[in-house]
């Protein structure tokens, strides 16, 4: 039963990406191109995506997390790490570099698969390889002494 709901939840997420325009790399890149403000080509739409998403999530999380437990789970799994280590800067810096190169972040890349786009297949394959490498590196004993393994973060 939970699996049917999770499919529907992913579908709603994907529809949100499509309706908002976040699924279009051209729109993402025009948002990130601040020099476009001068040329009249800047597209501020993605700020509205973030605003709409955060407004609903902020209010919704506040209500949901007051419940004793989720409907189909033992407990709420919330990140517990609070410290600002080097990985919370270096990871997003590398991620942002890739995001700015192609205009895809992970969610829109998956919806692009549904467009039947060969470009999305290439991107997703490379993305999964990058994820595997990062997890393998993060879980090495020498590193997990100074940084939390991915699956526990």
């Amino acid at each position: 039963m939970a699996i049917v709901f999770q499919f529907a939840i992913g579908l709603i997420f994907g529809l949100g990406l499509l309706i908002s325009g976040m699924s279009d790399p051209a729109k993402v890149l025009n948002f990130l191109d601040l020099a476009g403000i001068r040329w009249g080509t800047w597209d501020p739409s993605l700020a509205f995506v973030m605003a709409g998403a955060i407004a609903v999530t902020f209010v919704g999380f506040n209500r949901v997390l007051r419940q004793p437990r989720p409907l189909f789970g033992e407990k709420f799994h919330l990140p517990t790490k609070q410290d600002l280590d080097i990985r919370i800067i270096s990871g997003p810096a590398i991620f942002g570099l890739g995001w700015g190169l192609a205009g895809f972040c992970p969610g829109p890349a998956f919806t692009a698969l549904g467009f039947g786009s060969p470009a999305a297949v290439i991107f997703i394959a490379a993305m999964m390889a990058g994820m595997l490498l990062a997890r393998w590196l993060a879980n090495r004993p020498s590193l997990s002494r100074i940084a939390t393994p991915v699956d526990q973060a």
């Binding site: 049917v4 997420f13 499509l18 995506v49 790490k81 942002g96 969610g107």
Partner: protein, 144 residues
């Protein structure tokens, strides 16, 4: 590379964003999990630390099926312009995958769920990936 102009769509973007938020709230309410796409994606790859593979696969299948649903309902696909070639896509995909797992989250996990939880780590991550994306696009589009 010629830039493709896109229209400013405040209402559609706000509504679409709200749907993303609704999805995140529903996932938390039902499974107790953060709707972070990079975290969900990396946990589809072995070895597995828990037994929630099926739910994660269903979530990703929903993401992939969304354009198909739009096509069936409206008769056409939404706009999508991918300008990057295969080499750039490979490099970009690898960096996005590596960076999002190394930094414990991406646009959804940090940018939406983390900021909504007022997490300082997610604020630092979001400011950093926004800045890195802005600098990358600036260098790519306005060299010299």
């Amino acid at each position: 590379m010629v830039n493709v102009a896109t229209a400013f769509t405040p209402i559609a973007s706000l509504v679409g964003g709200a749907l993303i938020g609704l999805s995140a709230v529903m996932l938390m309410s039902l499974t107790g999990r953060i709707a972070g796409v990079s975290g969900i994606a990396v946990r589809l790859l072995p070895p597995y630390a828990d037994s929630e593979f099926g739910g994660r696969l269903a979530f990703v299948a929903g993401l992939i099926m969304a354009p198909v649903v739009v096509l069936v309902v409206t008769g056409r696909l939404p706009a999508q312009t991918i300008q990057a070639n295969a080499a750039i896509l490979t490099l970009a995909g690898f960096l996005v995958g590596f960076g999002s797992v190394w930094g414990n989250g991406c646009t959804s996990g940090h940018g939406v769920c983390g900021l909504s939880r007022l997490s300082m780590r997610s604020l630092v991550a979001t400011v950093t990936f926004m800045a890195a994306g802005i600098v990358t696009v600036f260098i790519a589009r306005h060299p010299g």
